[in-house]
Amino acid sequence: MIELRELTKRYGEKTAVDGLTFSVRPGVVTGFLGPNGAGKSTTMRLMIGLDSPTHGDVRIDGEHYDRMREPLHSIGALLEAKGVHGGRTAYNHLLCMAQSNGIPERRVGEVLEMVGLQDVARKRPKGFSLGMGQRLGIAGALLGDPRILMFDEPVNGLDPEGIHWIRTLMQHLAREGRTVFVSSHLMSEMAQTAQHLIVIGQGRLLADTSMNQFIAENSRTYVRLRTPEPERARDVLLEAGHRPVTAEDGSLEVEGARAATLGELAAERRLVLHELSEQRASLEEAFMRLTAGSVEYHAHDLPEGSAGGPGEAASGEPGEAASGEPGAAGAPAPAWGENWRKGQGR
């Protein structure tokens, strides 16, 4: 169990982590999701005492990390930056970590075998591929057979086989009753691995929910209609009690209706259709929309701030400011995921 209470980290003016309060429970894989720069890595560094919080605290099974004598027995972490001396063999790297926590030397061989690095145990990690480096990091996290495991972007740089391996491993670890906390910036990745979801954006908590609930709430479906007579189609749909929304490209989108029903309606009213299709917004889009909110918030804030002087505007994040659509929030129901798509298409 990891408990965060109002965890805050500021670097000078910039707030990287902003009052995070949540718990990570044992027995499930908890996904820690957020766009790049949302503060995921900082949060994880704060969790294991590498950085000290400006405010608030983290407890690992009720204890502060820096009070723990030999913490590798309780919590193992794979951090994004690999943190391995390129000239020290994989075996010796794990050995020095094991020795510092009184872990018997035979465990080094065991974890090397677990991650499939037994053949390169005596090799220097300098020549390791990204995937091998990642596996070595995971071996380090597993050394003390800890009840809590933390992985920062573990699938980065892994090939499909490696990705499958780590997914299976994490689920296996959670089934053994361990706490598994894994960060990612890819919703699709989390959807396949995590049972619980914590989403942050710009250091703030955006969602703390079970994966099932997130899917139920966010995998919205709608029907897209394309017709040469959009005006009449609108009237027909409104008459039938639907609520069509005109998309940017002129097509109509109807929520809460099945394609078959709308097709029959169109046939009845002799309406020519060029397209009739059911659309499903992906979880990735749902995630983008969720986090785009936090970006948008700042985009709206920026002009006010910049009124004070041009210097302030320059200190804002130009990339994020540009991706926000001024006034988009006020505009009538934009199409699903439209905002982030615009941002991407830049």
Partner: protein, 262 residues
């Protein structure tokens, strides 16, 4: 303190630090370089001096210090000791290993202490071997003009030479804990000990202050005829000044390690 009398936790971290030091190549290279360069250069200079002794003036002969002469290679050899001290610490930061190290040992004071408990004795042993080797080889080459280890002040100078090398390495350890970056540590320490310090020690305007610099003060311990150096402190006091510098560097390094995010 031996491994068996230490508190368990400290003993474990010391073992881990020892594994770290012995498992990288730079340890052997830097320490071997310190020994070879110091002994080699000392021997070369002793050999040259021995052959030109007859051409020396009376004053030169009166202040001739064969012990100090055999330590001539130390100015260069100490740079390898500094390199060792810098690499032991900066490798943690440049590779990101520090995050694994501190995740395993969150008590940062213990971490630094154990690093010192490993590097300290190691550099002391290498320093002593270097010091005795360069002395005996140098004296052998000086022949009749050479000093004996039982002559007054000589044993002190030779033991002091070993201590000097160890302290310089630990000074570098402390400074690198402050600076963290290998580039920065090398860029400051190397020119400082190789050039700047000795220039400041020679120029009249800065001489008075420069004689309290770590290496300027520390080398006095290797001199058997200290009067020739004209310092307001004796050989042991000189070494004590270096001890002060090293302690200050390590303390500052500890404070930086303690306070800053890793």
């Amino acid at each position: 303190m031996t491994l068996t009398t230490m508190p368990t936790h400290t003993a474990r971290v010391v073992k881990s630090e020892w594994t770290k030091v012995r498992s990288v190549r730079s340890t052997v290279w830097t320490l071997a370089a310190a020994l070879v360069v110091t002994v080699g250069m000392g021997a070369a200079i002793c050999a040259v001096t021995s052959s030109s002794y007859d051409d020396m003036s009376t004053t030169q002969r009166a202040t001739f210090d064969p012990t100090y002469l055999s330590f001539s290679g130390m100015g260069l050899g100490q740079l390898a000791m500094i390199a060792f001290g810098v690499l032991v610490v900066s490798a943690e930061y440049s590779t990101g290993m520090i995050r694994n190290s501190l995740a395993a040992v969150p008590q940062r004071g213990t971490f630094l202490l154990c690093k010192m408990l490993v590097t300290g004795p190691l550099v002391l042993v290498v320093g002593m071997i270097t010091s005795f080797a360069t002395f005996f080889l140098g004296q052998a080459l000086l022949g009749d003009q050479g000093a004996g280890i039982t002559d007054p002040g000589v044993l002190r100078a030779v033991v002091g030479g070993g201590l000097y090398m160890a302290l310089i390495a630990l000074f570098a350890v402390g400074v690198t804990f402050i600076l963290r970056s290998p580039l920065l540590a090398f860029a400051i320490l190397m020119p400082w000990f190789f050039l700047i310090s000795s220039i400041l020690g020679t120029v009249d305007a800065t001489k008075k202050i420069a004689q309290y610099l770590p290496d300027q003060a520390g080398t006095v311990v290797m001199s058997v005829v200290p009067d020739t150096l004209d310092r307001p402190y004796g050989p042991w006091e000189g070494l004590l000044i270096l001890v002060g510098w090293t302690a200050a560097a390590l303390l500052a390094g500890f404070l930086v390690l303690k306070k800053r995010d890793a």
